[in-house]
Amino acid sequence: MILVNTETIPGFRIVRLCGLAQGNTIRAKNIGRDIGAGFKNIVGGEIRAYTELMTEARTEATQRMVAQAQQMGANAVVNVRFTTSQVAGAAAELYAYGTAVVVEQDAPNAPSQPPAAQGW
């Protein structure tokens, strides 16, 4: 499944709109990480534990969005957007949404299948 944050995919043509696909996840930090973060708040700098937490959250939210798009019969999601917010004081929500579409290759001498998600 191709994901892009533009409205069109270079080299492909949108043939059908399937609707809005979305995915979200709410991650709470555990106490151990919180104490580490409290210490980091004194010395400053990147809080790697939280960065990893938010990266995992983003991956999970994206996967849920892709799953919903697949259910709609789409093979790509365009105009993907991410938003993060703090909820309930100790947790962060990451929400990913985009438009699920069916695309076809545009170039005349290109393969008929879109490339795999992790590469071109």
């Binding site: 533009t6 270079p10 700098g45 993060t84």
Partner: protein, 152 residues
């Protein structure tokens, strides 16, 4: 006498925070400069299209994120600034570093796929509690058949 202990602790935290924070910041700024030089061949834009005459035959979503905290001294400065109002200059470097870091991580992901151009880049900033801020930078990495570097 009773006030001396909390005052002493606060001063100690300020000292540790200020020192460690400054060292961390300087090191991070040097690291950022080095990595930006290494990825200097990448083009990026927040436009949704490539320059006229240039075509791409594939696009993939790439992103980078970072969660950053400011040190104790900066937080005290923000608190003090909150009394009189105005610009919090000491925090500008924190946000700038976070954005540069997130952008570099996104560019690194694009470079690892063999792309040299990322379009439609977006940055979002959020407070994730306890004075920490998360910055996500995401965009579409495109593959240009001519392998020419896009220049806007």
């Amino acid at each position: 006498m009773e006030l001396l202990l909390p005052l002493g602790v606060t001063l100690l935290l300020l000292l540790i925070g200020g020192l460690a924070g400054t060292i961390t910041e300087q090191r991070h700024l040097q690291d950022l400069a080095a990595r930006e030089a290494a990825l200097g061949h990448m083009s990026l834009t927040d436009l949704k299209s490539l320059p006229p005459g240039m075509t791409a035959d594939a696009g993939v979503l790439v992103s980078g994120n970072v969660v950053i905290a400011s040190d104790y001294l900066k937080q005290v400065r923000i608190g003090l600034r909150g009394i009189v109002g105005g610009e919090v200059r000491s925090y500008r470097t924190v946000m700038d570093r976070a954005r540069r870091e997130a952008r570099l991580r996104m560019l690194a992901e694009a470079a690892a796929m063999g792309s040299s151009t990322v379009i439609n880049i977006r940055l979002t900033t959020t407070d994730v509690g306890r004075g920490t801020t998360e910055v996500i930078c995401y965009g579409t990495a495109v593959r240009t058949p001519s392998a020419a570097r896009a220049v806007w």
